[in-house]
Subunit: 407 residues, 2 copies
Amino acid sequence: MAGNAIVGQSGGPTSVINSSLAGVFQACQMRGAEHVYGMQHGIEGLLSEKVCDLSQRLSSFMDIELLKRTPSSFLGSCRYKLPEPEENQEVYEKLFRILKKLDIQWFFYIGGNDSMDTIHKLSRYGKSVGSSIRFMGVPKTIDNDLMLTDHTPGYGSAAKYIGVVMKEIIRDATVYGNHFVTIVEIMGRNAGWLTAAAALARGEDCEGVDLICVPEIPFHTDRFLAKVEKMQQERKSVVIAVSEGVKLPDGRFVCELSDDQRFVDAFGHTSLTGTARYLANLVAKNLPTRTRAVELSILQRCAAHVSSRTDITEAFQVGGAAAKAAFEDVSGKMVALKRLSNDPYQCTTELVNIGDVANFEKKLPVEWINDTRTDMLPEFLAYARPLIQAELTPIYINGLTQHIVEE
Amino acid sequence: MAGNAIVGQSGGPTSVINSSLAGVFQACQMRGAEHVYGMQHGIEGLLSEKVCDLSQRLSSFMDIELLKRTPSSFLGSCRYKLPEPEENQEVYEKLFRILKKLDIQWFFYIGGNDSMDTIHKLSRYGKSVGSSIRFMGVPKTIDNDLMLTDHTPGYGSAAKYIGVVMKEIIRDATVYGNHFVTIVEIMGRNAGWLTAAAALARGEDCEGVDLICVPEIPFHTDRFLAKVEKMQQERKSVVIAVSEGVKLPDGRFVCELSDDQRFVDAFGHTSLTGTARYLANLVAKNLPTRTRAVELSILQRCAAHVSSRTDITEAFQVGGAAAKAAFEDVSGKMVALKRLSNDPYQCTTELVNIGDVANFEKKLPVEWINDTRTDMLPEFLAYARPLIQAELTPIYINGLTQHIVEE
């Protein structure tokens, strides 16, 4: 079957989204695509015909190795929301004209919920006009909130980063032995998967995090202060991990209580930040202690220098599995990860209907949180621990980690 | 010569302060100290006789290897300021009674300006009462602001961390290609050494930071906004590195313009934070762009998972050189690093008078900053680049970096 493939990346960056790009690229080349194109800045770039020929840019195995170690989206990203095909056909007609001009047979989109929504709409429209183009979704998100997949590529590396730096922050926080309260803000708008990963820090060489607050559990300010007061009396230092998206019982975000500026993106998501700072000020006002707020901020999604080899390998595999399916004539599906066992950890891929994934969110199971709502139970650790195993050695040149960038 | 050694750590943590502890410990053992004691929480802990026997805790080479990879102060720290010996003798009498009880002959204090002040006072008082105890200072600070030493152990690893994560942040920031402005806050109250290290990010695989603001250059809000506006029109994304301690022409810290809570420590240092957030809000209010503030926060001083092997080795060496000097009857000195050449990088140790170091601050040379006050010149890069070279592989166990902790 002759023709070309095209691949795009969308949504927030991760440390391993480029490993999925490498997986799609290598599998498409191997299966005989004449050209493998990359959309620059996702579907938004494609609408302006901003396209590059990946075969030229990724010409050596060293390029592929660097790509696996380069964080953020090599091709650039976008947060462009396609209209419903029934409501606005123009944009689809334009897109399909461009795809025809490029002789595209296989179309891949690497991203999270919103990107799966894009693939869902494109495959529906394509089917309705009898297009032969195969549309496949490749999952990616540090948030781990996609349905129908055991976990998402990107989560393991973010969880590993959080585990590593929480251990370092705990070492730092205990240094004065003065009952200091440190509050660490971790990403997660509605799902607490990333914040839960702070529980991984505990071990024979680490006291662990003292309190974990996730969006799945309503946040009561008075109970929070009571817990902190008790811990602060008992321990040399208190370290708290809190999701940016923790919510009051009335549904408002805790960070809405502060007066910072906020923005709303194309998908209607409000930017959340300032939760840790707000809580640190609250504790300092109510308890006789100094406090510190730390935001892990964007480093938790782009710190490729601490990535999980398991995660990088799986990210590569889902890319390859998407290409395999598309070349076998499958369309409108997302590749999911299916766990076979925890110990030894075994995981394979399967295909799921993209319509069952797009626009849904998978929450952290509340039964994995302890009764006092302070910590994660062993069930969570058994789930998360395999995902952070092993390392892919960064390539350091002249003292700094090396990346590959679009020219 | 019979007797015991004692070593303490003081001031803010670094990634390599424990490597200096390892250096002192091994050299003292080798030179025949019967016991090597550790002060728990520095001089403040010593005053309460909180002391441990390091020979018992560090009993294997693996312990030493883990110690070199463990961030923050293994022995705990303090920010205790000794009074002038002339003004208050009581505390000195108490300290020297405790030291006599422990049969201490050699006393080591690892720290920055304030810790050198402690050694200075102790050695002066010791001399005045005819004590035979030898007092030696071992330099440590990520801030690189100690006088009479080419650089300080701790700076190289912090600079390497900043270089590595700025590269990752720049990759992340360019992903949407929407002229977004990212402002990264880096530690440095009066000296811009750490913020200058952001200049290391630029290379064949990285655009580099677009603007660097350090405390040595007065900050003009209007000029800053004009620069950002120009860059923001010209570039896909703007990334700015700013010292927490940048100051207005009238001497006030920029972050004082915001209304956050602030604390003052025992040495009279106000906590500075919120500079990036204040500037990000300022830019968002004045220019048609979205902005983001990122604080590298405490990770820049405790991210031992990205440490410089050069730095770790030198931190170990200054510890060993301090022990050598003390056993050779030297007192009241600090070990300094003396650079012999940049390329090939060669560096040795020498002894300097502690009174010439304590309470002084070494600033970043303004002649290493370009005329437009946006970037560092090659002179700075030639100075800093050797300090970030090579890695000490972290020991990962079960997916996370392993440390050693006081039991």
